[in-house]
Amino acid sequence: MRLVFAALLTLCSLTSAIAQTQAPAAAPTFGGPTIRYGGDATSGAPYTFKDPADPNIVVGFESDIMTQIGKELGRAVEFVQNDWSNLIPGLNAGLYDAVINGLEITPEHQAAADFTIPYYVTYGQIVIRKGDPEVAGLEQLRGKSVGTLKSSQMERVLRNFGGIDVRSYEEEIDAYSDLKLKRIDATVMDFPIAVYYAQPDDALQFTGTPVGRIEYGIAVKKGGNPKLLAELNSGISQMIQDGEMRKILDKWAIWTPMMAQVTGDTRPMQVQPTAYTNFVEETQPRGWKAQIERYIRFLPQLFWAAVMTMEISILAMILAVALGATLALCRVYGGTVLDRFAQVYIEVVRGTPLLIQVLFIYYGLPKIGIQLDPFVAGVLALGLNYAAYEAENYRAGLLAIPRHQMETAIALNMTERQALRNVIIPQAARIVLPPTTNDFISLIKDSSLVSVISLVELTKTYEQISTTYYDYFGTGLLVAAVYLLLGLPFVRLARWAEKHVSRGTVRTTGRK
C-alpha cells in the first residue's frame, strides 16, 4: 500500500508537470485572494493538528506561521485537509495553493514542487525507553530496530546509514507505542515530534546527539506560481526579522540551535511555551467523567463525518446500481459487442485495487484534462468500482429467471424491452436484493478510502481524534458504533423491501 502511494505520488507529480503547461494557475496578486494551504491534521502535533481542547478547529505552529504570513502579506489564509502522502499531488491538482506540513527541502521533494526558503530548521531526535542504556548516535543503533515516520527525510537517513533495521510508521504515535511495547528498540524522528509525543511520556527518554539537519519549506506547484513563492519567501523573511517566528516557535517549545544559527537570534526563550503546556495538559489521561465529556465534544465532528460518509456512500451506490444493472443487461441480453464490452469493464475494475482507482481518478485524470472535485471523484470511483460487483450480482439474478418466462412474454407479443421491464427484472430484483444490501454495507466501509483525496469522513475523523488524544480504544468503539448505526437502517429497509418483493414466492394457501 505504501509502495502504491509512493508510486502514485511520483506519477502524479510527473503528470501535473505536464498538465501545468496547459492550464497555468492564475497568479494571485498582492493583497489578493485567500491563500489555501494544504496539510494533514491527522495526529501531527505540533505541526497541524486538531486542537485537543476543541477538535473542531485546527491548530499548530505551522498554522500559526501561515496566519502570521497572511498578516504580513495582508492576505487571508485557509486550511485544506489532505492525506499526508498526497499533499503534493493535491497541490498539482489545484486543491490548494501551497503545502506546509513538515515537508523537508530535499532534492526529491524539489523535483516534485517548488520550495520557499526554510521556515524551520531542525534535526532527528533519538528516543529510547526510560532505563535503557543511553545511545550516543546512529552508530550505536546498528543491529537494532528503529522506528521512524514513513517517507520522511529521517527514514532515508536511517536507511542510507546501513545496518539499522528501519521500521516505517504512518503515524508517529504508533512508533512510540511500539517502542513502549518493546516491538522496536528506539525511534528517530524530527525533534518537534519527539517533543510532543515522547517528552511528556514518563516511559520514554531523549538520548544522543542531534541526527542530521532537516529544513522545512512551504511547497507550491512546480513552476506554476513564482509570484506566490516570492510572496511566501518575503513573508517568512519578515517573520524571522521582526521576531514573530521566534515567538511562535517558543510558544510551541521547538526552538532549535539550528534556528539560532540561521537567524542569528541567540537570546533565551522569548515567550512561555503555552501551546506546549496546553497540549500536554489536554492530552493527559483523565478520569472517566472528563473522558466522557471529551467524547461528547467529539460528537459534532463525528456527526458531520458521518454525513459525509453517507452522502458519498448513497450517491456511489445509486451509481453502482444503475451502471451495474446496465452492465448486467448488456452481458445477458446485449449481443456480442455489448457483452464483450461489459465483460472487459467488469474484469478490469474487479481486477484492480479500489485505492488505485480512487487515486487514479482524482490525481491521474487531470493529465488528460479531466479535473474533478474531490467529492465527485470519490463518488465516481466508488460507484464505478462497485458497479462491476453489482453487475455480476445482477447477471446471476437475471440468469436465475427461467428462460421460458421471456418466451412467454414474447408470445404475449411484448417486445424484449417490455418483457425485461415487466417480467424479468422485477423477478431478478428480489433475488439480488440481499447481495445488494450486503454490498452497500460494504461500500459504507470502503468509503473511508476517499480520505486519500482530502475528504474527511468517519475513518479519517477517527484517525484524527484518536491520534490527537492517543486514544484508539474509546474513540474506536465510538466510531464503530456510528458505523453500525449508519448501516442498520439500511439493513432494516432491505429486510422490509425483501419481504415486500418476495410476495408470490411462498405458498400461503393450500391447493384447491
Binding site: 421460458h404 418466451e407 408470445a411 407479443n413 411484448m414 415487466n422 423477478q427
Partner: protein
C-alpha cells in the same frame, strides 16, 4: 371460405438437423385441430413457427391476413413481421408459465396494458370476465404459487385470451398436469371451440384429439403424414405409419 391460417412449404433446421421438411396445410376459422405424432417429429417446432417464436428457413405462414414469407436463402424475417402476426395468435405452453411475481388477475391484465396500452379499468374488467370464463374468478388475487397446475394452465389460457387472438396455439397443454387435472383444462378448450375460436393443439391426449378435434394432423420426421377426420384417423388410418403410431393408444 378463406382459410384463417395457411402454411406453405415451411422448412426449418437447427444447425444441420432438418426439423420441418416442407410442411403445408391450412385451417378454416373455428376449427379445433390436433397435431399428434411421435416425439421429435417437429410438431412443437411447427407450432412455435406459427407465432414467430422460431424463424422459418423458407416457406410462408399466413394468419388472419398477415403474411410471413421467406424465400430460400433470403434474409431472416424481421421481428416486426412476427410481432404483427402474433397480434392474432395466442399461445399456451406445456409448463404453466404464469409470472410468479404477479397475482393471477395481474397476469391476465399485464400484456394488454403493456403491449396495447389498454387502461387499467378496462383491462381489469376484461380480466375478470376471462377469469370467470375459465372458472378462476375466486382465485383472482392469488399468486401463481398458490394455484394448482390445472388452475395455472387455465390462468395461462385466460392470459393469452386477454390479447384477443383469433387463433390459439397449445403446446402439449396438459402433459405437465396430474391426470386428475387434465379435464378442467380440456373443458376450457372445448368451451372455446363452442364459441368458435380457432385452436391448434399439439397433444399426446389421444382421447381429447379424438373427442374434441374437428380433424387431426399426424406428423412424423418433420413432415405431415396424414390429415384426416378424427374418427377416420382412429378407426381407419390411411397411412401405415399412422396406424403403427396409434396402435399404442387404442
Amino acid at each position: 371460405m378463406q382459410p384463417i391460417l395457411r402454411v406453405e412449404n415451411v422448412h426449418k433446421s437447427f444447425d444441420t438437423t432438418q426439423i420441418l421438411k416442407g410442411v403445408s396445410f391450412q385451417i378454416e376459422e373455428g376449427d379445433l385441430v390436433s397435431i399428434i405424432g411421435p416425439s421429435g417429429c417437429g410438431k412443437s417446432t411447427l407450432l412455435r413457427c406459427l407465432n414467430g417464436l422460431e424463424t422459418i428457413d423458407s416457406g410462408a405462414i399466413e394468419a388472419c391476413g398477415v403474411r410471413m414469407e421467406r424465400k430460400v436463402g433470403a434474409p431472416e424475417i424481421p421481428g416486426e413481421v412476427s410481432h404483427r402476426l402474433r397480434r392474432n395468435v395466442g399461445m399456451v405452453f406445456q409448463q404453466y408459465q404464469l409470472f410468479p411475481h404477479k397475482t393471477l388477475i395481474q397476469n391476465v391484465m399485464m400484456a394488454p396494458m403493456v403491449v396495447k396500452g389498454v387502461k387499467e379499468a378496462e383491462a381489469l374488467a376484461n380480466a375478470e370476465r376471462l377469469l370467470r370464463k375459465v372458472g378462476l374468478y375466486e382465485q383472482r388475487d392469488r399468486f401463481p404459487i398458490n394455484l394448482s397446475g390445472g388452475q395455472q394452465q387455465r390462468g395461462a389460457i385466460a392470459r393469452a385470451l386477454a390479447m384477443a387472438p383469433r387463433i390459439m396455439l397449445y403446446d402439449e397443454p396438459t402433459s405437465a398436469l396430474d391426470p386428475g387435472l387434465v379435464d378442467e383444462v380440456l373443458d376450457v378448450m372445448k368451451e372455446l371451440d363452442n364459441e368458435g375460436m380457432t385452436q391448434i393443439c399439439v397433444t399426446h391426449e389421444m382421447r381429447f384429439a379424438r373427442d374434441a378435434s374437428d380433424y387431426i394432423i399426424f406428423m412424423e420426421k418433420g413432415d405431415i403424414v396424414e390429415i384426416s377426420d378424427e374418427d377416420e384417423m382412429f378407426t381407419n388410418p390411411k397411412d401405415p405409419r399412422t396406424r403403427q403410431f396409434l396402435r399404442r393408444f387404442v
